[in-house]
Amino acid sequence: MTTPLRRLIPLGLVLVAGVAAAPPASVHFTDSKLRNGLRVIISEDHAAPVYSIVVQYNVGSRDERKGRTGFAHLFEHMMFKGSENVGQNEHPYLIFMNGGSMNGTTNKDRTMYYETLPANQLDLGLFLESDRMKSLAITAENLDNQRNAVQEERRGGVDNQPYGRTFEALDEIAYDNFAYQHSVIGSMADLSAASVDDVAAFFRTYYAPNNAVIGIVGDVDTKTTLSKLEKFFGAVPRQPSPAAVDTTEGAQTEERRRTIDDRLARLPRLDMAYRIPPSASPDTDAIEVLATVLSGGRSSRFYESIVRQKQLSTGVSAFAEESRGPGLFKIIGTALPGKTLGDLEAAVDAEIERLKAEPVAGWEIEKARTSARRAFVSALGSSLSKAVQLSQDALYYDQPGRINTEEERMARVTAADVQRVARQYLVKTGRTVLQTMPKPSAPNGGQ
């Protein structure tokens, strides 16, 4: 059931002879459910005296309603403000003062909390997570205080940064459905409007055991951990399941094109977004290879052609973020001084057309495969990485073991697959093109 990793990985490969790759190891885990519906994934790894706990709640900014953008993330901040048996800020204080680390993070699809602690503090992590799931302290004072912190987070990350507005605008134009259209950080006005009643209702609806998945990985005993989970979480009451959010998008039939001014930027930037299916789609792996071919490292086509040869940009990236709903394949590049966005866009388009016209080379496919293998091996070394992936894949795909199939899935992608998805999804009528132009404010320092 749970074999320590050290026994799964062949040791002492003969280095100098350059022996073939080790057969893939796999992450062993248990997958169970408490009576209140809380799903629990546990994986033992006794390599270091450490464990990580991850709690994934099935709620993200896509679940927000109009007029309350940014709420899921604001709520995340409230989760550190205390509960029945835990004082204000006592949670982070106890974690850090006992040598651990922790944080929370919100995206469109989920809200995740995590701690890594020395192995002798298992009860501490379980207690802290269960007490706030059970009995969050919801007060106006806490809400106002964290509203300030979040608004400052927005200023620092968006309003005071060059291109800060760009990433928000791209999704707003590319999506038609409100669920994925608005940003996770939300608008200042909506953050100001959030009330204590909103917080209470959100907590009741979404922070229920049957709407969460817990991942625990590290120097723990599975049986003991399961009984502790029952003890700490068993009494948290189940709630009616939240209504499923409608994320469907109508078909896009023509290119969308917009230009925005940015008073903090110094160079023009090009952002493109092509519509792609949700990450559960069978095409996702081929799209991943496609992104690697276009912009994975300096051997990529964008780097070699646009950065190195044509010298139009310092770097052009292409990526598809994991998405439970309709996704976007994004291409982002900044023009070098003296170069135009028109030249940059033409160069990007030329590479995309080349992908559609000719199959990619064998080494480009190989590159994507080894990249997946390397990422897997790296993840094996981190209790937190494993706990995140196991729990998130359980939540998103109902496949906690997806981490073990990543390399094999990538190895199945062929040159023909990459060409097919390029032709199918990288079409001009399905894309949004956003240009960000520097527009300096009048100097505020005088002359």
Binding site: A20, N89, G99, N103, D144, G446
Partner: protein
Amino acid sequence: MLPRRIAAAALAGGFGVFAITAPAAAQAPAQGGAPAPSTTRMVLKGRAPVSPDVLKVKLPRPQEADLANGLHLIVLEDRHLPQITFQIIIPGAGGYFDPPDQVGLASLTGQLMREGTTTRTSPQISEALETMSATLTVNSGMAAASASVAGSSLTENFEKLMDLAADVLLHPAFAPAEWERLRTRSRAGLVQNRSNPNFLAAEALNRAVFGVHPAGRISATAASLDAITPDALVTFHKTRYVPDHAAIAFAGDISLAEARKLLDAKFSGWTKAGVPKPAVTDPAPVGPARVFLVARPGSVQTTLSVGTQSMLRADPDYAALTVVNRVLGGTMGRLFRHLREEKGYTYSVGSFFSATQYRGGWTASTSVRTEVTEPALTDLLAEVAGLRDTPVPDAEFADVKRAIVGSFALALENPQQLLGYYVENWQYGLPSDYWDTYPARVMAVTPAQAQAAAQKYWAPGRLQIVAVGDAAKITDILKKKGDVEISDSDGNPVRQGSAARGFD
């Protein structure tokens, strides 16, 4: 909470014999109703089940050897995962040694080494590395005394990675066409930096704290990019990338014997140059206290940095400054609890210090909305003053020391981090048992010693203040802290008389 990023540890560690022992001095923070630390917005109910024990971690020791060409070899063998990382540290090849009119020379030399060798083009190197999913970088920090060549790969590809590393280190081509490409990209980088408030703050603070000493270098300039020639790059590489005083360190799926064998096979051409050990000097003492404003049009926040010089890495005060700095600006420290949690001025605030072969720097920094610039700066300085004026209460002090010592268990997951500890020993001449005795040294720091460190390093006459933001709104506020020197976001001085007019 905090920066929204997950630390992705790259490697696993499976060593570490550990034992549960009673802690020497620290008690679990909430036990016995210990009084809460200095600011409000934190309530310790003391009901959470905290194990009073701190895991006493025994770090695995590396194996070391000295090679004939002067190279020192450090190997931290860890067989848990089939991957290996390495780094070569080359003293004398860092930006510290740039000629003053060619700042950036070391950094650009390092970058250009990766852009082609006498037998491989830049794209060939990229393709070879990336089809193995291996990494290889040459890094030379703008103010660093050393350069490093570093990389990692799966075990099965490590020999090929060493081939590439040796080629990049020993036979770079420095082709003129690649140099022109690199210079063009670097110029664009300089332009981009000017839009980043944190860069502007760091640039101004470094100048205030270090003056013209190389410790304050943060970026090349348009003029230095013009002044650097291909010949200068070739000469810098030839004279400075020598093994005489260098080290090579490995962590992961490799033994000392295997590492030696690889070095014999791949790096035999790296011969001793017979040069003396590169020497560094300390910056001139910091002070007096001054105030700087960088006018950044369009800012909706003020980026505040308060800084000064710190100490040498080998300074006996190192543990005391580590502890008191953590009380002030560490995770959940006083600055966080006060400026963020109590007052809501900021999303993020903290303090940091560096200590190397020459006297390093200390900085406390935050970004706040423009409207609260004055109280935020006042409160930040008050927290610093609080640590000078009053000893840290016992419970808070014990918690902070426990936090530092307790976190060693987490390092065991990451051989690369552990290797970093031992490279530090070598670089700064620390004793080989330094990290074994470090927890005891931290635990031995007293509140009086911490206060003495705060008084010494954070003396009011040493503290330099930098603000980046909307000059129309914050100039008068800053003037309350002293005479203000104003520059624009291109780094040019702004005449004071005109600073108050012509705002958008």
